[in-house]
Amino acid sequence: MNISEAGTSEIGELSRAPSVEVGRRSRPVSGRLRRPRLTWGLLPIAILVIAWEVLPRIPAFPGYGFFPPFSETVREGFRLIQNGVLLENFASSLVRVLAGFFAGTAVGIGLGILMGWRAKVKELLHPLISLFYPIPAIGWIPLLMLWVGINDLLPIVVIFICSFFPVLYTTSSGVKNVDPSYIRVARSLGASERQVLFTVVIPLALPSIFTGLRLEAGMAWRVLAAAEMIAIPTGIGALMVKAQSLVRMDIIIVCLAVLSIMCFLSEKLFTYLERKVLAKWQG
């Protein structure tokens, strides 16, 4: 399907917008604020929204009655925001993600640096870590319910585990893969081992560290939903479970949308930070 075939659909409307080109590279727009650039990638989304709005209203549709149309879902989303339910649960989830993610990545980065820098530490810890790394983070939940209890700490620990291992590995390999020539030159210029580590090795390992952070920032939200759904009475995951028991598909979809947006934004945040920190010297 191309634009000319889209006819009078919403896509057709977009294609007639004076400042927007669909399917072509837009000219750079001067000024502080850039207008959003529409591309072919929006076409499937537009089709999905149209189908979502139209199909649930057709009685012959297999999910009829169990699938709220797009407009009703959006309306429910606004209602949940207005009455504070969504924000309250979102805030609980956000605090857990921040606590678990930052604790997990901080320990992961610290230990990863040690493992990448000192072969002895790697030799010591690698077998143990290799043993635990393959266990999925949500696989720990039954055990953690007994050890930690069913409270706020449980999802935090699950997110900690989820963030810790991958960041540990990307940091460790980033540090280990720093070109030894940089280390040799730094030493010959009088840098002590500590100075070499902090002024050369860690900065040069930042691209790897950021890769780990970016991937795990999104993953933390995915794991959070699982932990909250199983064991916790508050949070986005818990709200989904309650909605499921009341057969409120619209609320479930709103919660899924929140999780999707948070995954996306978390990854984008680290992409932005990575670019901000590294772009100037990576050329």
Binding site: D179, S181, Y182, R184, V185, A186, R187, S188, L189, G190, A191, S192, Q195, T199, V200, P203, L204, L206, K280, W281, Q282, G283
Partner: protein
């Protein structure tokens, strides 16, 4: 500045190497890839374990870590720190030894002027050209006033013109600072231009050490002769200045024009690869163009070595095998000979060699 002495140093390809670099000397390690040149540099810098001992001014440095030796090592790929600006790269060594910011700034400024880097201070290495990176790397290496400077083929990745200009700058810097320097290269021209002395390495052992002219004119063994390229060496009967930096010298019946300032050329030398042969008459002006008789032909790999009798001198020329057929070389045949003017070395002393 200290003298550097290696005694019985063994590591990788290097086997019991003995070598001395005098106080303030510029020594060039010359040899093909894999001959152990870089290994010796890393041993002197304290960056590689080894057998044998390294002495600075007679003091054993084997237990002194690299960071305490005050040796600056400039590797082949320069390795400027990509996350630091030019200013921070140059000041790195000073910062690491705890100099105050004001002192660092003064020293960096001094080096920036010396190496003509004024406009590049805020740039990152990824924003520099090859020649600029080279100058920054040299400035960074000498910023902490090292006692010994080690340079590992620093010009190998540059175009010929930039490399030549930087060679002059490196030598000027050495003369200015008097830092004991060891420079690794496989380029004979670089070794001749830079070195006070040249050490020729082969398979991890030192074949010959001496002033460039000595190594060039009187190789100690077959390997050195082969590596240098078995130069033609002719004694001069007279020397007549022609102006503009050239002189005419008489070598038996040949009057050869050579680049030289002054009037005291006693001996000239040029490589067989710098002798041009032609079957017919030579094109253009006949400066350094002669006639010669082929007296011997030897095939060596993809080359033919031609011995010529030319104006009473026996000259050696090298011709690629593919070309030798075109010139129709045969013993007793006559060929036109041209010597490449800029490739002729001149010496003012008979004793060389």
């Amino acid at each position: 500045m200290p003298s550097v002495e290696l005694k019985g140093v063994s590591r990788h390809v290097c086997k019991e190497v003995d070598l001395r670099v005098n106080d303030g000397e510029f020594l060039v390690l010359l040899g093909p890839n894999g001959s152990g040149k870089t290994t010796l540099l890393t041993v002197i810098a304290g960056l590689a374990g080894h057998q044998g001992s390294v002495f600075f001014d007679g003091v054993c440095m084997d237990k002194v870590p690299a960071s305490k030796r005050r040796v600056s090592y400039l590797p082949q790929d320069l390795v400027l720190f990509p996350h630091m600006t030019v200013r921070k790269n140059i000041g790195y060594g000073l910062k690491m030894r705890g100099d105050e910011d004001a002192a660092i700034q003064d020293r960096v400024q001094e080096l920036v002027q010396l190496m003509h880097l004024d406009d590049l201070m805020a740039r990152y290495p990824s924003q520099l050209s090859g020649g600029e990176k080279q100058r920054v790397a040299i400035a960074r290496a000498i910023a902490p006033s090292p006692r010994v400077l080690l340079l590992d083929e620093p010009l190998s990745s540059l175009d010929l013109q930039t490399a030549k200009r930087l060679r002059t700058e490196i030598r000027r810097l050495h003369d200015l600072t008097g830092i004991t320097s060891v420079y690794v290269t496989h380029n004979l021209e670089e070794a001749e231009e830079l070195g006070d002395r040249v050490a020729v390495l082969h398979s991890g052992s030192v074949q010959q050490v001496g002033p460039p002219a000595t190594v060039f004119c009187s190789p100690l063994n077959e390997y050195v002769a082969d590596f240098i390229g078995s130069p033609n060496i002719l004694d001069c009967d007279y020397c007549r200045p022609l102006g503009h930096g050239v002189v005419e010298v008489g070598c038996k019946e040949l009057a050869i024009v050579v680049p030289h300032e002054g009037d005291s050329v006693k001996r000239i030398a040029f490589l067989p690869s710098d002798v041009y042969l032609s079957a017919g008459p030579l094109p253009g002006p006949r400066v350094n163009g002669f006639e010669g008789e082929v007296i011997d032909l030897q095939e060596r790999r993809d080359l033919v070595r031609v011995s010529l009798l030319c104006g009473g001198n026996v000259l050696l020329a090298e011709v690629p095998k593919a070309l030798s057929g075109e010139i129709e070389l045969e013993k007793g045949g006559r060929v036109s000979v041209m010597l490449k003017l800029r490739r002729i070395r001149t010496y003012e002393d008979y004793r060389i060699g």
